[in-house]
């Protein structure tokens, strides 16, 4: 965290919910350090063949826009109104009742009125009315219309990258207006004139070339997993042998590359490896990883529908090439939103795959009958339910756990009970956070939708406040010291946010907990968990 990021109490003190005296149309945007992400590297934009690649700086007056930028935006707007009924309706029917206003974590954490979902959408609606509606054309501002100017454009850019597309506001909207869709649409327009952010554009470019956001080349991917193989052997005495690009395997496994790269996601990754090893030894399950489809996440989703499709195509292509029966997906948030609500439509039908059946339990995953892709929490819950895993939940006894529902598996899928079932079976101490902060009402980690960069730390910490505040509550009430989640961005973002707001709470993936509890055939006496920290009761055990 940079020194410039305000301290927690300073940031808390800054929150001011009083509305400015001046109306929002008269309040010009103030692009502030710590609240925005750097502009994209033109090389990345060029590599993807996206329009208007150039070096530019959000803090400078001149954004080096193409000369006809207004026309590009207008035509882009029109084209998308004809392509998306949702956008057309969302532009027309908001009554500004204000139900969404205090639902946004960025509003709660900053008090900036333009972070109220309704106003974020009004930034675009005001242009829509001006350009496309008779009342807007006749009555102008009285009808809430205003022309597109450079000031407005900067406002769009600033606030569309202060929305993490978490959809919490959409739950409360009486018309189901989905700000995430509006943000996605707005960012797609900005992409047309090259106003991307680098934290998104460069991972997308990497992913396009190497198959994953981090730009890990195939041999290096294998090397990285081999490190985990060594760690696992040290901790458990078991030598696991992950398979790569194996033709004819039963199942292709895809997870976000973040889990290969950084703690604590790496422990979750080790968790998958141990689980697959266990299932192979006991039941002969044949799972393969892929270096080509080595990314579950999809930052293309934060760029444009087209870019999302280009990156996502690798999943089905690789499954077809390898001739697997179905695909298993790791713990990731937006990855699952793409899989759940876009993949089959964009890149399907996946008729070369079979309706997923768990060969160990015989369970047919009817809910994945068409995409042919199962979430690992569903898969593991099914295994546990059928008593196929030998577990010692006591090994997680030093962890008092709460579960953070990630935005996308919650409001873009509805996966709530599966991960909770898994956690409750692999650990003994579980406490949910207050009801209005979990499940479909869950709060974003504050860093979703490609905003988990370093330079926007103040924004991320402010956005992470509501989640952290609820964690603090269970930390103080039940002594919760471990926050479980099923999202790689959470695993990257929440540790920072916890360190900032609730320093005694650590973050874990669900499958790290599973692997801690999993009793492997032939394992040595385990004295530590996957992190190398002593298991409960082993605090005094010899280190070797």
């Amino acid at each position: 965290m940079s020194d410039e990021t305000p301290k927690p109490d300073e940031l808390f003190g800054k929150i001011d919910y009083r509305t400015p005296a001046k109306g929002w149309m008269d309040t010009p945007v103030n692009i502030r350090k710590g609240m925005y992400c750097y502009a994209s590297n033109p090389k990345s934009v060029k590599n993807l063949g996206l329009p208007n690649a150039r070096a530019w700086n959000p803090l400078e007056d001149d954004w080096k826009l193409p000369e006809n930028w207004q026309q590009i935006l207008h035509e882009g707007f029109k084209e998308r109104l004809d392509k998306f009924r949702s956008i057309k309706i969302f532009m027309d029917i908001c009554v500004r009742c204000g139900a969404c206003a205090d639902k946004c974590h960025f509003f709660i954490g900053t008090g900036d009125p333009k972070n109220m979902p309704v106003l974020r959408a009004e930034l675009l609606r005001s242009i829509y009315r001006n350009d496309f509606t008779p009342t807007g054309k006749i009555f102008g501002r009285l009808a809430g219309a205003r022309p597109m100017t450079l000031e407005v454009l900067k406002e769009w850019w600033y606030y569309l990258f202060q929305c993490s597309e978490c959809r919490r506001c959409s739950v409360y909207c009486p018309y189901g207006i989905d700000t995430a869709e509006i943000t996605i649409f707005g960012r797609e327009l900005l992409n047309l004139i090259g106003l991307n952010i680098d934290w998104i554009a460069t991972p997308v470019s990497n992913c396009y070339n190497t198959g994953n956001h981090l730009g890990i080349q195939p041999h290096a991917f294998k090397d990285m997993l081999n490190f985990f193989v060594e760690d696992i052997e040290e901790i458990t005495g078991i030598h696991v042998e992950p398979q790569y690009n194996k033709k004819g395997a039963d199942i292709l496994f895809i997870t976000p590359s973040g889990d290969v790269f950084a703690d604590p996601g790496t422990y979750t990754c080790m968790g998958y490896m141990l689980l697959f090893h266990y299932l192979k030894e006991k039941y002969g399950l044949d799972v393969t990883w892929s270096t080509y489809a080595s990314e579950g996440g999809n930052f293309g989703f934060f760029t444009s529908h087209e870019t999302m499709k280009r990156l996502n195509a690798k999943m089905y292509n690789e499954a077809r090439r390898l001739g697997v029966k179905w695909i298993l997906g790791g713990e990731c948030g937006h990855m699952w939103r793409v899989i759940s609500q876009y993949m089959d439509t964009m890149n399907g039908p996946a008729d070369f795959l079979e309706t997923p059946v768990n060969p160990i339990t015989g369970t047919r995953f009817e809910n994945a009958a068409s995409t042919k892709m199962v979430h690992i929490a569903e898969f593991t819950a099914d295994l546990i339910r059928h008593g196929k895993l030998e577990l010692d939940p006591g090994r997680n006894d030093n962890k008092i756990i709460s579960f953070h529902d990630s935005c996308n598996p919650s409001r873009g899928m509805g996966m709530f009970d599966e991960p909770r079932y898994v956690i409750k079976n692999v650990a003994n101490n579980f406490y949910d956070m207050p009801a209005n902060t979990i499940r479909e009402q869950t709060f974003c980690c504050g860093s979703g939708s490609g905003l988990n960069a370093g330079e926007d730390m103040e924004l991320r910490m402010a956005g992470g406040l509501p989640r952290a505040n609820a964690v603090k509550h269970v930390h103080e009430t039940y002594g919760v010291n471990m926050l479980a989640c099923v999202c790689a961005i959470d695993r990257a973002a929440l540790p920072t946010s916890m360190e900032y707001w609730v320093p005694d709470v650590d973050v874990t993936g669900v499958h790290e907990l599973v692997a801690n509890a999993l009793i492997l055939p032939g394992e040595q006496d385990r004295t530590t968990d996957l992190r190398g920290e002593p298991l409960p009761g082993m605090e005094d055990a010899d280190e070797g």
Binding site: K83, F84, I89, D92, V95, A101, T345, R411, G412, E418
Partner: protein, 357 residues
């Protein structure tokens, strides 16, 4: 002082003045032509807007899944909040349209001393909205009595139910009574006033409100107010009004003969209604149609189970496996990763030294 609500308020007063003075000279305009025109604009405008929405496709099924998905058989699905069947969607939509279910979830965020947030149920907006809409509906249905002769029984039942509350003093000396009080009219008025005051006094809501939020509210308050005035406080010639309305519905009014004795207050009332009808299709009031078409609510959430098709789904440029392997083949072979194509054995070119030999 907020220019948005002041301008709306002034606009409504101006409309009242227009109707008041206009109806003196041109009763046929305000009593017959404008109402007809308003109905035509409303019907055509409404249809045009809805058809405009319907013309745009729904490329993806992006429902808001507000409950447990259908998953393993032993996990209880939220069949309404995350429906996977048409029945579930119909129930979800019915609850949205008839009971404003999503709005009922509304919470209010509060930051307490000591730095804790709470998010408690906030039902006043829901209550106000529900009261407003149902009172409006009842009033509307009740008014169909003006277009039937004799008044149908069902309307009479509704009126009786609506006016269960009566205020009468019957003494030997004083006999005083108001006509049966229609609860709907009063609730409509009160709810609209509440919604206005909410916009005025809740600072967030005031900040987001536009003139186009205040204007329809004032117009509806005006409609309710003139209606209440006519019913309880000033005498209007109800027979003449019914003659006019029957003429309108039977198209006999096309002779543009307006019955005598209709008061200006009635013309203001009718003009407000006409303006509301004309304004409707061009405004946020179209949420009435939009709520049925909202793609996040009116589709099933089982997107992994049933494929949704996108009518425009253009092919995109993909980095194929073949291209990927071409790029990394040697590194892959070296790392022991399987490849599709082994590289052609290199034809070793003789080095300079070898050539010499």
């Amino acid at each position: 002082m907020n220019k948005y609500y002041m301008s709306s308020l002034l606009a409504v007063f101006a409309l009242a003045a227009v109707a008041y003075f206009g109806s003196m000279g041109l009763p046929w305009l305000f009593g017959i032509l404008l109402p007809y025109a308003a109905v035509v604009v409303f019907v055509l405008g409404f249809a045009r807007k809805v058809m405009g929405w319907a013309r745009s496709p729904v490329p993806f099924r992006i429902t808001t899944t507000s409950g447990q998905q259908q998953s393993l058989p032993w996990i209880q699905q939220a069949r309404i909040d995350n429906p996977s069947s048409t029945v579930g969607v119909i129930v979800r939509m019915a609850l949205e349209v008839l009971t404003f279910r999503s709005l009922f979830r509304n919470t209010r965020m509060k930051l307490h001393d000591g730095g804790k947030f709470s998010y408690n149920l906030e039902i006043f907006l829901w209550v106000g909205a529900l009261a407003f809409h149902y009172a409006f509906l009842t009033t509307l249905v009740r008014h169909t009595r003006f277009f039937f002769e004799p008044t149908p029984l069902c309307i009479q039942f509704l009126e009786n139910a609506d006016s269960f509350f009566r205020f009468e003093i019957i003494y030997d000396f004083i006999q005083f009574g108001l006509p049966g009080i229609y609860v709907s009219g009063l609730v409509l008025f009160a709810a609209a006033v509440y919604l206005f005051l909410r916009r005025l006094f809740v600072s967030n809501v005031r900040y987001i409100s536009l003139a186009s939020d205040y204007f329809p509210l004032f117009l509806i308050i005006g409609i309710a107010f003139t209606g209440i005035l006519m019913r309880y406080f000033t005498k209007v010639d109800i027979t003449a009004i019914k003659e006019l309305t029957m003429g309108l519905i039977t198209l006999k009014a096309l002779t543009f003969q307006v019955p005598e004795g209709i008061s200006a207050l009635f013309y203001i009332h009718l003009f407000f209604v006409s303006v509301l009808l004309v304004y409707f299709p061009f405004s946020k009031l179209m949420h009435m149609g939009g709520v049925f078409l909202s793609p996040t609510r009116n589709m099933t959430g089982n997107t992994r189970q049933v494929r949704h098709t996108n009518p425009w789904n253009p092919p995109v440029k993909v980095h194929t496996y073949e291209a990927y392997e071409d790029e990394y083949r040697e590194k892959m072979i070296e790392a022991g990763l399987p490849v599709e194509k082994m590289p052609e054995p290199k034809v070793e070119k003789p080095t300079e030294e070898e050539k010499k030999e």
